[in-house]
Subunit: 333 residues, 2 copies
């Protein structure tokens, strides 16, 4: 299967629903943004050995690629529209790989209601690298932003935190042979290890929540580089500080079991990346509304602290003492 | 310089003009497409060892990256608006490299009137890989497409053809030491070699021409994978054939000199990639209008043949004989 065959047989069908994609046969897509809507665009790249191990089923890589981008759309309160894909393929990507990869795209396109609109397929001398631009739509002026949080607002997160960072440890342990497993996940049952791995490999973009928060949240972002670091970005954008309580951080059963033997469980949870949950602020008076939303979209929402006038970020233990973290999150360099 | 420092000090200033880029501080950009305009989006990736050698001045890599995308906007008749950048950096990209790269972006942004709107900066285990999504605007319904050419339409190209493919030979020769230069460029003067290299390294997106052709061309595309192959795509999209005349293909002085000693000069010119000239069709009755446009925007436009009802693509020599090519262009796999 050559480049043009791949595009015509495996990619073009994924672009069939959007007329503006021109069947992937032209130099660019030509799109009409519906009136009254703003365009939300994000672009995320993932590379082998950095964002994924490389031994994953190709469809899983495709789906993670779409989902890290969808998570950004969720954070802005946008609904997905379409995406552009840059696929930089090593020679090892054969026809079976391409088919499995395209099947992953097809599956998540359908699940999240978006369409391939264009992109580029090329060779790379090194290992697999991918980049996606995802397009979303949001009613004019109603996009959620990181700025806007006010002192006194409650700080909320969706789902549970820390699973994906521990899932990465599981993935690495598996990749190198079980004996090299890290301490925190070594003692877990297979079920718990699977659930952590799943969270690392296939994040759940919180699209319904993001859209439901449009007129409620004062600020919103997704947690991708570690809760503490991302909270820091939100505080900086909103010019406030934050106080969060360790015992209110929502932890899954697997994370609870994994961090139990650790002397410093906080860092692994609060500075671990890849959660792709939504972190947002809202007036505490809206807690009841948030409970209704959580029930309706079947997504856990937890109040974990409050924004403060003092521009510092503190994590408090159950006795109100300050927990000091060695690192706050992930940076690429 | 860490990831966030790089974004704040070198990239954020490039996004300052577009309010919707949110200072590169949010999860996504929020853009309002002006009413009456359609959005044109293209995405092109380039990787080290495939699209560039790697020893180039970093600013040149940045500018080529933007220009290959701008060339697609030109082909649609769009005017540039903004771009999203995925930068997948090996550990060898130090602060000096990042600064030079950003300087290249800044220079071409200004030249072509576009703004950085977002993107992603990440590590790669292999060599440098980059992807850009470029956004352009075009009045509703007036984008140029590959389809639309009719039998009898004249086939035109801008500039000269074949320079970049020969420039790649020069670049490869230089990279490996002059003695390994290819036959076709070995005998050239330094001036001619420089001009070929320049065309390979820094294509000239034909933006003014693309916009001028909006109500004139029946079809348009950019020549990136080789004139013959790209003409094939245009013919397929328009359901016509083509007949072009070898002696009417516009060749620069450098290309003429380089292909003179070759037994088969045609293939090197007609199947070589990276020209980034516009290939378009228009009624022959509009030749005078095209001459006026060419003069106004100071861009050479050459009539090289005619679209035909018969769905074959032929290259004719000066005596009307058919020239047979061994290959028609570049494919990545």
């Amino acid at each position: 299967m050559d480049e043009f065959g791949f595009i015509a047989t495996l990619l073009a069908p994924l672009a069939a629903k959007e007329k503006g994609a021109l069947g992937l046969k032209d130099d660019a897509a030509v799109l009409s943004v519906p009136s009254g809507q703003e365009l939300v665009i994000t672009q995320d790249a993932i590379t082998q050995g950095v964002h994924f191990i490389g031994d994953e089923e190709p469809g899983l890589i495709a789906r993670k690629l779409l989902r890290v981008n969808l998570s950004d759309l969720a954070a802005m309160g946008a609904r997905p529209w379409g995406y552009f894909l840059s696929l930089m393929l090593p020679a090892s990507a054969d026809e079976a790989w391409l088919k499995a990869f395209a099947a992953g795209l097809r599956r998540d396109q359908k699940e999240f209601g978006m369409t391939l609109m264009g992109g580029d397929t090329t060779r790379i001398k090194g290992t697999l690298a991918l980049s996606v631009s995802a397009l979303g739509l949001v009613p004019k002026g109603r996009a959620l932003k990181r700025s806007g949080a006010r002192a006194g607002d409650g700080i909320f997160v969706s789902g549970t935190i820390g699973d994906a960072a521990l899932g990465l440890q599981v993935a690495r342990g598996e990749g190198r042979g079980a004996r090299k497993d890290r301490k925190s996940s070594r003692s877990l049952t297979l079920d718990l290890r699977s659930s952590l791995l799943q969270r690392y490999r296939l994040p759940e973009p919180r699209l319904a929540l993001g859209q439901a928060l449009r007129d409620i949240a004062t600020s919103c972002m997704d947690v991708s580089d570690g809760l503490m670091q991302d909270l820091g970005h939100m505080c900086a954008a909103s010019r406030v500080g934050a106080e969060i309580r360790w015992e209110d951080i929502p932890l899954s059963q697997a994370v609870r079991a994994a961090v139990k033997p650790l002397k410093k469980p906080h860092e692994c949870v609060l500075a671990g990346g890849d959660d792709y949950e939504l972190l947002f602020t809202a007036p505490l008076s809206l807690q009841r509304t948030l409970r209704t939303i959580a029930g309706k979209i079947e997504t856990r929402i937890s109040l974990i602290g409050q924004m403060t006038k003092e521009r510092a970020i503190k994590v408090l233990d159950e006795k109100g003492g300050k927990i000091v973290l060695g690192k706050s999150g992930w940076r690429h360099f």
